[in-house]
């Protein structure tokens, strides 16, 4: 099955998402870190159907010939490159890195991270709102990685963010959706797309998140660190579609007591 055919199929099934005026057929954003090779990454891009891939901005090595760069590998996939500001701890640092990223000439999109705590990689939401304002003023399309705080999400929207990207659980933890209620609060409180960023560990986590009505999911470790990343990439793609479809289909009500699915009347020998 070719990547193109797949995109077509999916788009027709669960629609896509529109961020900052651009429409993407896939609701999955793939992070490019921690893959064992560029080749595995590329295959996961294709298998997952992702149309957006995040990258980090880092110093080149000036002492030895560098490996050539990630972009060369991703060129053929047709994905949009989404630079992040990972590793920044102040609004100023993050703004600086965002500007460097934009200077590469690929797009105005930036995944904005302003970290506030090294152990949990939790965002510093005060700095985050500041940095969002600055970057929006400079014409960036800003996608901030944020906490699951509904008030902060609304502030980010007010500051001009193109989407909000709340965490499901800590980056790289694989703990899944710890607090579904807060994600729903955010979903209900903002009009911009909500992309769950961080915490997904396996396919069912993605399905659970999508069933809350969010627009998409950004994931990285769950695929890169699976025993078979390419197979997990496929699982994630289906899991996101399944969750979205289930959200749209409207689940049955829960009940504590059982209810038969076969008719009570007409039983033999009564």
């Amino acid at each position: 099955m070719s990547g193109e055919a797949v995109t077509t199929e999916r788009a027709s099934e669960v629609g896509g998402m529109t961020i900052g005026g651009r429409t993407f057929g896939s609701r999955l954003i793939l992070g490019s870190g921690r893959f064992d090779s560029p080749d595995t990454l590329v295959r996961c891009v294709e298998t997952s159907g992702a149309e957006i891939v995040t990258v980090a901005v880092r110093r080149v090595s000036l002492d030895r010939a560098d490996e050539g760069g990630l972009l060369r590998h991703l060129e053929g996939t047709g994905v949009m490159i989404l630079p992040n500001t990972a590793g920044c701890y102040t609004a100023e640092q993050a703004v600086r890195v965002a500007r460097l990223a934009r200077a590469a000439g690929l797009s105005e999109f930036v995944k904005l991270e302003v970290i506030g705590d090294e152990r949990t990689l939790y965002p510093d939401v005060v700095e985050l709102v500041r940095a969002t304002r600055t970057l929006v003023d400079e014409g960036f399309v800003v996608l901030p990685y944020t906490s699951d705080d509904v008030v902060v999400a609304r502030r980010l929207e007010e500051a001009g963010a193109a989407a909000v990207m709340p965490l499901a659980s800590p980056i790289g933890s694989g703990l899944g959706v710890v607090d579904p209620l807060s994600l729903r609060f955010i979903r209900d409180a903002v009009a911009i797309p909500v992309i769950v960023d961080a915490g997904v560990g396996t396919a069912s986590d993605a399905t659970v998140a999508m069933e809350l009505g969010v627009d998409g999911i950004l994931m990285n470790t769950a695929i890169a660190m699976a025993e078979d990343p390419v197979k997990m990439a496929r699982a994630m793609r289906l899991a996101i579609e399944a969750g979205r479809l289930a959200f749209e289909a409207g689940r049955m009500p829960r009940r504590e007591w059982a209810r038969p699915t076969s008719p009570d009347e007409g039983r033999v020998g009564e």
Binding site: G31, T54, L71
Partner: protein, 75 residues
């Protein structure tokens, strides 16, 4: 850093480390000397981003602080 400095070289700081380069070297020359493809890097000089179109004309000066970055895998 311990290399002999002659009249024809200057020192710049690039990516946090001191580099001794020929006086008058352009940014393009600096990158070429290190086998770096100018199309995939972005350069900040003394806090200002240098447009790629100016790599060829911009001559580095003593004490310049450069950040030379590119994209790597990241989530």
């Amino acid at each position: 850093m311990s290399r002999t400095r002659t009249a024809s070289t200057i020192d710049v700081v690039a990516n946090g480390e001191s580099h001794t380069i020929p006086d008058g070297q352009t940014l393009a020359g600096f990158l070429a000397a290190r086998d770096l493809d100018p199309d995939v890097v972005v350069v900040e000089r003394n806090g200002e981003i240098v447009p790629r179109s100016r790599f060829g004309e911009l001559r580095l000066e003593t004490g310049d602080r450069l950040e030379v970055v590119h994209f790597v895998g990241g989530g």
